[in-house]
């Protein structure tokens, strides 16, 4: 297992390194003088100079890059000129909200996707399997911004049972927090849940058709046990990989869902920073999101290897 981690780690680090180059380059590709843009049209020459010095824009590019990395590693991200406050605080607050949203959605993905997959693959009842198929196709076919609008229409406008937007942190007020979390998490989760469910269904069906399941059937093992102990462990490893990929999609999708439900997370912060052209914040944010994503991928691969002895031993 450790050997596997050691083999996977370099390529993950390489991707991160190249991604940091790319993100760094984004800022340098922006037309115009970033300091002037950041300071705004009314700023004095001193402010502009201060910003330039703070960002090190007058240094050569490699030095700027190294300085940026150093700042990231020490957590000293400096003030946000356009939004106000410390960048690290802004990102910290946003990160909390986004992680809460993503984890909530992940829970929905696992529960709904798992139910879709297992019911779809094993239900002998025509109505159940049709319902699962219609639901997964529906969840896949309706974009999150549409689902979001529909959910708000139904639960907030028509029924008035759930708030249409905003956030109360789950940790400070769990009961209220859940109400605020429910709709955005569901909206974010639906497409991923459908993908996962369909994948799991295919995987279980394929595994149930394999020779080893026939062997187990011939040995008199009950269908329930065949599903849970024989087919599912084989269907699971690729599903875990997919779940890792979907976590990335959830992170990306969070940007959109946060906009729909006014959820004050990283997506909202990124949008705000973009609109106000606060490029240092954008740059830090992008690298943070990519890092989270790459770490999730790495974790996924490890879980996959743990679940599948063939990889573990290779």
């Amino acid at each position: 297992m450790r050997g596997y981690l050691l083999r996977r780690l370099p390529s993950a680090l390489l991707v991160l390194l190249v991604a940091s180059f790319a993100v760094f380059a984004v800022l340098r590709l922006v037309p115009g003088d970033p300091a002037a843009v950041l300071a705004g049209p009314d700023a004095s020459a001193e402010t502009e100079a201060a910003i330039r010095a703070r960002l090190g824009l007058d240094e050569p590019l490699p030095a700027q890059y190294l300085r940026w990395l150093g700042d990231l590693l020490t957590g000293d991200l400096g003030p946000s000129y356009a939004i106000g406050g410390q960048t690290a605080d802004l990102i910290g607050d946003g990160l909390g909200a986004t992680v809460e949203l993503t984890l909530g959605a992940l829970l929905f993905v696992v529960v709904l996707g798992g139910a879709f997959g297992i019911l779809g693959a094993t239900s002998r009842n025509r109505w159940v399997s049709t319902a699962v198929r219609v639901l997964t196709t529906g969840a896949l076919s309706v974009p999150p911004f549409v689902t979001g609008v529909l959910l708000v229409l139904l639960f907030s406008v028509l029924l008035g049972v759930l708030p249409p937007g905003g956030r109360v942190p789950l940790l400070t007020a769990p009961d209220l927090g859940v109400q605020y979390l429910l709709l955005p998490a569901l909206c974010l989760a639906l497409p991923s849940a459908a993908v996962l469910g369909r994948y799991l269904k295919d995987g279980i069906e394929r595994a149930l058709g394999e020779d080893y399941v026939r062997t187990a059937t011939a040995a008199g093992i009950a269908p329930r046990r065949l599903l849970w102990r024989h087919a599912l462990p084989n269907a699971l490893p690729p599903v875990v990989t997919l779940l890792g990929m979907q976590t990335g999609n959830l992170l990306g999708g969070a940007v959109l869902v946060e906009a729909i439900f006014a959820w004050p997370g990283l997506g909202q912060l990124a949008e705000q920073a973009l609109v106000r052209r606060d490029y240092p914040v954008v740059q830090d944010l992008l690298l943070l999101l990519v890092t989270v994503f790459v770490l999730v991928q790495l974790l996924t691969d490890l879980v996959h290897a743990w679940l599948d002895p063939r990889i573990r031993w290779e």
Binding site: D211, T215, W313
Partner: protein
């Protein structure tokens, strides 16, 4: 002693629905009985319905398959109509099953211990006598009778096994559900029984850490875990090498003798039948055509199909240069209604009534039954197969192809490098057939690919007409390929599914520019005719052809550039014996007519001996012995050659009963 039959199958019918909605009658009116401790072989070629019959016994038919008629009586209880829950109690506990491919039959993510534990758990909580008693009151006593009858040699081991069995043998009490530790102990015992060395340690290993033969042993252990009365083995040795096949058959024989388990062995291999079973059931086109004691059926077949099948099996004793006997034609299309005898279209002795009246399976003697109208009236034995015909082949000429010290190493993703060829040298003369035999992993397929320039060699030299062509340039490679062509093993994988047969055969014509574009269609038709196919086949895709026909297409493609050397990599391994003879015959005819030099690679020594002038035996990337075909088979010098020869199962009728002397050796 006549115990009531353990298993009685009556008029079993199995139907499938094809993807385009037509019914397919895979098994028609199959009846047979099985007594306790008996060993029965069900033999037939692909499409004969033998595997379907086996799966139908446990109601495990795949896809659209269902039993459409008849009954399967196990101790008088009909499994064809039993409830699913009841069937589950029968599976594993009363009828155990092993399947063909040990590589896929074990769950890759579960350890071997878990595999066995699952089975033991499924049946551990049921008292064995209660299961038997549910079927019939006489079940237990009959079982004891059968065990007592297996002879003294087996008796000792059977008793010993009983005493060491935890949980089950202990009278009542906590025997009801063996605990985890007890199951683990039993799993170790089972692994030891099937000959897995060091079972305690290997219990936690996963399937991919075992060889094919070991996996099959583990599957046998799983099938025996519930101590079934019947072991159903569906082609248990087909995926294995001859020497491993030999070991597995020995193991099965000993296990059935010591435990008194009845064995139903599904196989296409007449040699395996002769080696392993007392009684044989021959199937063709979904029906039973003949049934009787193995010795009797093999010595004096009553049904023309049985006779034809026996004649088609290549004998190791047949000398080099003799023609294999085949059965003309192809098996019937099971989706069409069948009026008369399924074999009528291919039978040399067909009478008019055979085509209109379905022959019943009638008793011809006390023990032999056959489904053949003329056979019921025939007093004398069927005419023996014509003596092996000599192939009129010209003497080999000058050397065309030579290899000197060829090496090839495959580097896997990891550190492990696999040496497939380790200094192989050979020569091949014009008009000569060089047979190459070896087991899987011996490097014979790699040799074929290196000789045909499909893969480059890492070292050594290849000489074509005395000229070094080991590392040819672009133009030279093209010239070499024109002279050296290849026929592949798998007639399904070696043809591009997206092209028509005509396009496939025309590709080399286009590549080598041997004929003008306008004449290509004519040449394709000519080539198809040459390999015995209707030129009208050119418009169809490979999927609408049978295996034998596809192999003919592959040969036509290889012949298109008019080569002088043809390298045939296991060209008949994927084919049924009756079709195998047709393809081998075609190759030898082509050799005679076109003066081809052939490299004929196979794992079946008997086929190789018949078609080859000389034979080279390969083992672990080296040629261990080479010599004239007859000489090598009669007087082998290398121990490996001797082992190969000894392991090849011969369909020689067994007159004496198998000697149970070796029984103690295995369970010790």
């Amino acid at each position: 002693m006549t115990a009531p039959p353990l298993l009685e199958v009556q008029g079993l019918d199995v139907g499938f629905t094809t993807p385009d909605g037509r019914p397919l009658h895979a098994v028609r009116d199959v009846s047979f009985t099985l007594r306790r401790g008996e060993t029965l072989a069900v033999v037939g070629e692909s499409g004969s319905g033998k595997s379907t019959t086996a799966l139908a016994l446990l109601r495990m038919l795949p896809g659209t398959g269902r039993i459409t008629g008849g009954s399967v009586l196990l101790d008088g209880e009909d499994l064809a109509t039993a409830a699913e829950d009841r069937l589950r109690e029968v599976r594993g506990a009363r009828i155990g099953m092993i399947f063909q491919d040990p590589m896929t039959a074990l769950n890759p993510v579960l350890s071997i211990g878990r595999h066995l534990d699952e089975v033991l758990r499924a049946h551990g909580d049921r008292d064995r006598t209660a299961v038997n008693g549910a079927g019939t009151g006489t079940g237990t006593s009959a079982s004891t009778d059968a065990r007592a009858g297996t002879g003294t040699g087996a008796d000792g081991t059977a008793r010993r096994r009983k005493s060491t069995r935890p949980g089950k043998a202990t009278p009542s009490g906590k025997a009801a559900r063996p605990g985890k530790a007890a199951r683990r102990a039993r799993a170790v015992e089972l692994l030891r029984l099937v000959g897995i060395p060091d079972p305690e340690r290997r219990l936690d290993d996963h399937p991919h850490q075992f060889s094919g033969g070991q996996r099959q042993r583990i599957l046998i252990a799983m099938a025996l875990a519930g101590e079934p009365d019947i072991l159903l083995a569906d082609e248990p040795t087909t995926a294995l090498d001859a020497t491993v096949q030999d070991q597995i058959l020995t193991l099965l024989g000993e296990l059935t003798r010591t435990t008194g388990t009845a064995l139903v062995l599904i196989t296409h291999n007449m040699g395996v039948v002769a080696r392993a079973c007392e009684r044989v059931l021959v199937m063709y086109g979904g029906t039973v055509v003949e049934d009787g004691p193995t010795a009797e059926v093999l010595a004096r077949p009553r049904h023309p199909y049985t006779a034809g099948l026996l004649a088609a099996v290549p004998r190791l004793s047949a000398p080099s240069g003799t023609r294999l006997t085949g059965i003309p034609g192809t098996p019937p299309d099971l989706s069409l209604p069948l009026a008369g005898c399924a074999f009528a279209a291919r039978c040399a002795l067909t009478e008019d009534r055979c085509r209109t009246t379905a022959p019943p399976l009638a008793a011809l003697t006390d023990t032999v039954r056959a489904a053949c109208l003329p056979a019921a009236e025939r007093a004398e034995p069927l005419p023996p197969p014509p003596p092996p015909a000599r192939i009129d082949r010209p003497a080999p000429g000058a050397v065309v192809l030579a290899a000197e010290g060829l090496r090839k190493t495959y580097r896997g993703r990891g550190r492990r490098a696999f040496t497939a060829l380790d200094g192989v040298s050979l020569t091949l003369a014009a008009g000569e057939t060089l047979g190459i035999v070896g087991e899987s992993g011996s490097g014979k397929s790699t040799l074929a690919r290196v000789l045909a320039h499909a893969h480059p060699s890492d070292g050594g030299r290849i000489l074509l007409d005395g000229k070094d062509v080991t590392r040819p340039g672009r133009a030279e490679l093209h010239a070499v390929r024109r002279r050296v062509q290849m026929v592949f093993q798998d007639p399904y994988a070696s043809l591009n599914p997206r092209m028509t047969v005509g396009e496939i055969v025309a590709e080399p014509l286009r590549a080598f520019g041997t004929v003008a574009p306008a004449e290509r269609a004519g040449r394709v038709a000519e080539l198809l005719r040459l390999v015995g196919l209707d030129p009208a086949a050119a418009d169809r895709h490979p999927r609408s052809f049978s295996g034998g026909q596809r192999q003919r297409v592959g040969i036509a493609r290889a012949l298109a550039p008019e080569p002088s050397v043809l390298i045939c990599d296991e060209p008949v391994s994927a084919l049924d014996v009756s079709v195998q003879a047709q393809i081998v015959g075609l190759l030898t005819d082509l050799q005679r007519d076109l003066g081809l030099a052939l490299v004929f690679i196979a794992h079946d020594l008997a086929v190789v001996r018949q078609v080859s002038h000389r034979i080279a035996v390969m083992h672990e990337g080296r040629i261990v012995e080479t010599g004239a075909a007859d000489e090598l088979c009669e007087r082998p010098r290398d121990p490996y050659t001797r082992a190969l020869l000894a392991a090849a199962p011969e369909p020689v009728p067994v007159t004496a009963a198998p000697v149970p002397a070796a029984a103690e050796a295995v369970s010790a």
